[in-house]
Each structure stands twice: as structure tokens, then as C-alpha cells.
């Protein structure tokens, strides 16, 4: 059976008014639709033929997305890795699909669902290949306030934090082609960018940025051949749960380390805790969090 599909229902992930979001490329819009979990009335075949399990279309209503998700993920992975460009950014592809019509609301939860790594990968692909400003602004709307809060927590004055956030996002715009979703999520990538800018501008270590650029290029060159755990293969929800499940002392130490950028000695002095205890607690916390990252989906 041939899957029929078309333009997605325009959907705003952050729940805010975002005019730019309405100008999404076809592939991004199609992806937007997958968390909306509608049963759609379909009219026109999409260019990529995908087989569905028996009964998907014949016996509605069902959750179409759940049924096609594995196939859809593989198709989108091919798009991201360059194996199939037909769905991404092609005017021809846009012309071949027609709008969905929502028929019945199925799940009460997706409106609260956060966009996942795959969603951001698609946005980055659009930025990298098409210089797509709408995708860029979706990234901006989601990440810039979080980058700002992160920098403010580190004690960066507000005006400088604003400048560093803009610089981080400009870095994303300029180096979008360096982003490899098989190695790191966009959140991790932007965290690195913001941390590096903080160390360069605030801690005034002028040699830090070129060194990190060098390490990034080394990772970029190795990513195809290295037999290691790519971040995209683990479920970030498990890591979030593992962080939330840390014992209070370990959780506090981890947050002081990351969100206040305090050295072990500073943490030890502030909490009046022996340096060895600070380190052993952080070691245990890191080990637990690594286990969550090694848990298969």
C-alpha cells in the first residue's frame, strides 16, 4: 500500500506566536506534523513510497503516526545523512504534496511534547543546506532563552549574555555544516558553543576557542570511523530522568559544577565538604549518568 500524505498542519512547538515558523520547508513541516498525532484524510501520494502495516488506513481511526514512525524515522535519517535528498528542500517535492486535513484529535499529550533531537536535526539540515531562516528562528526561539539563562547563572552580566547568545546563534548559522546529528544533539552542540564563548570572553582565556575548534575538527573527521556511542543513539529522556533521580548531594554538586561553573576546590570550600568527597560524589554521579546514556532505546 502506498502512503498518502501532504503538508503538515502548521504547528508551533513552543506554544508561542512565531510568524517565521509558518514559512517552514516541506520536510520540516511534515516532521512537525508527526507529534500532532492526527488521523489525516490523505489525498496525494508523497514521492517516497512507504509500506504500512496492514490495517493502517483501511480501519481508521488509528494513530497513523505510530504505525509509520519507524519507517518515517529511517526516511528522515536518510535525509539527514544525505542519502535521500528528495524530501528536503526540493521545490519539486513541495509541489508534489497537498495539505493534510485534520480529522480527529487522538492523543491529549502531544501539544505539550518537546521537540526531539530528530526535529532539531531536520531544522539544522535546512539551515545548513538551504540557509533557511525560518528553521533558524525556530532554533533561536527554543534555545536562545536557555542559553541566556545558562550564561546569567554563570554570573555573566545581562548585556554581555545577550551578546554571547547572539554570537552563539551566529556561530550556528555560520558553522551549520559542521553539525553532525550522529555525534551530538543540537542541545549538546549549542552548550559547547556557549561554554566556549563564556571561557573565551568572560574567563578571558584567548587560546581556548582555537583549541576547541581543533578538537571539534578532530571529532568531525573521526566521527565516521570511530566505533563509539553516538549521542543520537541514546534516549535523552533517560538521561533527564537519571539527572532528576540523582541523590540530593550528587545533584547539587553536578549543578554547581555545570550551572555555576565552580571548580572542585570552590565547591569544597563553599559546602565545607572535603575535596575528596566532592570528587568521589561527582564520580558516582557521572557513572550513573553514563549508564543511562548506554541504555538502549
Amino acid at each position: 500500500m502506498l502512503l498518502r500524505a501532504g503538508h503538515a498542519v502548521a504547528r508551533n512547538w513552543s506554544g508561542t506566536s512565531q510568524p517565521e515558523a509558518m514559512k517552514a520547508p516541506a520536510a520540516a513541516s511534515s516532521l512537525d506534523s508527526r507529534c500532532a498525532k492526527f488521523v489525516w484524510t490523505c489525498s496525494t501520494p508523497i514521492p517516497v513510497a512507504m509500506k504500512l502495516p496492514t490495517g493502517c488506513i483501511q480501519n481508521p481511526p488509528i494513530d497513523v503516526f505510530s504505525a509509520i514512525e519507524p519507517v518515517f524515522r529511517r526516511a528522515m535519517h536518510a535525509v539527514i545523512t544525505g542519502g535521500n535528498m528528495r524530501m528536503m528542500g526540493s521545490d519539486q517535492a513541495v509541489a508534489e504534496v497537498t495539505p493534510f486535513r485534520a480529522k480527529r484529535y487522538v492523543s491529549p499529550t502531544p501539544s505539550k511534547a518537546a521537540p526531539d533531537a530528530l526535529y532539531w536535526s531536520v531544522q539544522m539540515t535546512a539551515v545548513s543546506l538551504q540557509r533557511d531562516r525560518a528553521s533558524f528562528m525556530r532554533i533561536y526561539d527554543h534555545f536562545s532563552p536557555r542559553l541566556q539563562r545558562y550564561l546569567r547563572n554563570l554570573g555573566v552580566p545581562e548585556s554581555m549574555a545577550d551578546e554571547l547568545v547572539q554570537e552563539a546563534l551566529l556561530t550556528l548559522w555560520r558553522k551549520a555544516s559542521m553539525f553532525n546529528p550522529a555525534r551530538a544533539s543540537l542541545g549538546t552542540w549549542l552548550y559547547r558553543v556557549a561554554r566556549n564563548l563564556y571561557i573565551d570572553h568572560v574567563r578571558r582565556q584567548p587560546h581556548w576557542l582555537p583549541i576547541q575548534d581543533g578538537l571539534d575538527r578532530l571529532d568531525h573527521a573521526e566521527s565516521d570511523r570511530r566505533d563509539s556511542q553516538p549521542e543520537s543513539s541514546f534516549d535523552q529522556d533517560l538521561l533527564r530522568q537519571a539527572i532528576d533521580g540523582l541523590p540530593p548531594v550528587q545533584a547539587k554538586l553536578v549543578r554547581m559544577c555545570y550551572l555555576e561553573s565552580k571548580s572542585h576546590s570552590e565547591i569544597s570550600a563553599e559546602l565545607e565538604m572535603p575535596l575528596g568527597s566532592v570528587k568521589s560524589s561527582l564520580r558516582r554521579a557521572f557513572a550513573k549518568l553514563q549508564v543511562s546514556m548506554r541504555t538502549p532505546r
Binding site: 536562545s144 532563552p145 545558562y150 558553522k175 552548550y191 559547547r192 550551572l259 576546590s265 546514556m293
Partner: protein, 220 residues
């Protein structure tokens, strides 16, 4: 050559958090350049940082901030600039220092200008780094250093030659990640001098009175 001794997990965590004192970060960077295993652990640590950053409660960006961002995009060149050439070489060159050491000691191991500080011990001290002390040490083959522990943290990476202590054999690329709980007495291997880069965030603590008496002169 693949290193056998690596950064402690908590050093990786602190590096990822941007919390490692500057001198220690230079040595950690030098090891990361040579060690894919530690870079993989750093990626794990960065994932944690990314998730923590995204967990924060935030407001929607202001419209004027969005407009300012779009104006910056307007000012960007239409074509993405090509990536600059990599300055990290894939093939090891025994004379080339790790990239993170270049600002402090130059590029070439053979071009270093050593200063003798004790019999069999030469040193080059990096100046102006802030956040701890950073130095290169060149210790004659077959030398036994005084027994000592550390007032704080110490990171030492071997660049050439080797030494042995209670923790094992340390060769090129290996890093000794030590703190105040470790007391050791390195003995350099015979044959070639042991050249290493060391960073500390507190002075060493020597056990013997001779070494303690000489410590101010040696500057360790």
C-alpha cells in the same frame, strides 16, 4: 600511540563545565588531542551539560531580540565561509607539541630553551596563565624525584621519554591526574630524558627535608 593513563572522570566533568583552572585545562586539552577515549567521555559530559542547560525554566524571546537576530543574519555573507584548515595533525610528529601548548611554549619540542633548576632537572615556566602554574619539565633518564604529594590537583602529561611510580608506567600521551591523596616518587626510565608538561593549582608537598628546603628555589 594510544595512551594508557587517562583523565579522571571528575576532571573530564570539570573541563566540560568550563570549571577547570586554566593551567589544568591546558594539560587536559593536550591529552584530549591525543586521546579519542577521553574525547568520547568528554562528549558524555557535554551531553549532561546540554540537558542541564535545556532543563532551565525560561521565557519566550522578546520580539526586539528576534528582530535584532534577524538583522544580524541580514548582515551575514550569503555564502557560508569555508572551514579553516585544521591545525591538529592526524599523524603524530614526535617533535610537534600538542596544540594547547603552542601559545605557551611554541610548536617544537627540539626548539625549547631549557633552564636548569636542579641537577638533572630542567624547566620552562609559562608566565601569565593565571589559574595555577604551568611548566615543562625535562628530567634526566634514570632519575629518582623526591617523594611528594600534592596540595591540590596536578595534571602531568608525558611528551617524550617515560617514568614509573606506584601508579604504573607512564609513556608519551599518558596523563597522571593526581590530588592530595596520592604520594608518589617518580623514577624516569633509562635511555632518553623524560619530558612532560605539568599543571598544578597548589604547590607540591615534599616529604623529605632536603626537598622541602630546596622547594622555594626550585619553584615547585
Amino acid at each position: 600511540m594510544t595512551p594508557n593513563h587517562h583523565l579522571d572522570d571528575v576532571t573530564v566533568l570539570s573541563y566540560s563545565a568550563g570549571a577547570l583552572p586554566a593551567a589544568l585545562a591546558v594539560v587536559a586539552s593536550a591529552h584530549l588531542e591525543r586521546c579519542a577515549a577521553c574525547r568520547a567521555r568528554l562528549l558524555d559530559a557535554d551531553c549532561i551539560g546540554g540537558v542541564l542547560m535545556l532543563q532551565q525554566r525560561v521565557d519566550t524571546p522578546a520580539e526586539d531580540a528576534r528582530a535584532a537576530m534577524l538583522a544580524l543574519l541580514d548582515a551575514e555573507p550569503a555564502i557560508e565561509p569555508p572551514a579553516p584548515p585544521a591545525d591538529i595533525v592526524q599523524e603524530p610528529d614526535s617533535d610537534r607539541l600538542p596544540s594547547s601548548l603552542h601559545p605557551w611554549f611554541g610548536h617544537s619540542l627540539r626548539a625549547l630553551r631549557w633552564r636548569r633548576v636542579a641537577p638533572g632537572v630542567q624547566r620552562i615556566l609559562a608566565s601569565g596563565i593565571g589559574g595555577g602554574d604551568l611548566m615543562l619539565l625535562r628530567i634526566a633518564p634514570g632519575s629518582k624525584l623526591p617523594l611528594h604529594s600534592h596540595g591540590g590537583n596536578e595534571l602531568t602529561m608525558i611528551l617524550d621519554g617515560a617514568y614509573d611510580d606506584m601508579l604504573g608506567h607512564f609513556g608519551p600521551g599518558d596523563v597522571a591526574d593526581l590530588d592530595g591523596e596520592i604520594t608518589h616518587q617518580p623514577v624516569t626510565s633509562p635511555g632518553v630524558p623524560c619530558i612532560c608538561v605539568a599543571a598544578t593549582d597548589a604547590p607540591l608537598k615534599f616529604s623529605g627535608w632536603v626537598a622541602r628546603a630546596l622547594q622555594p628555589l626550585l619553584g615547585f
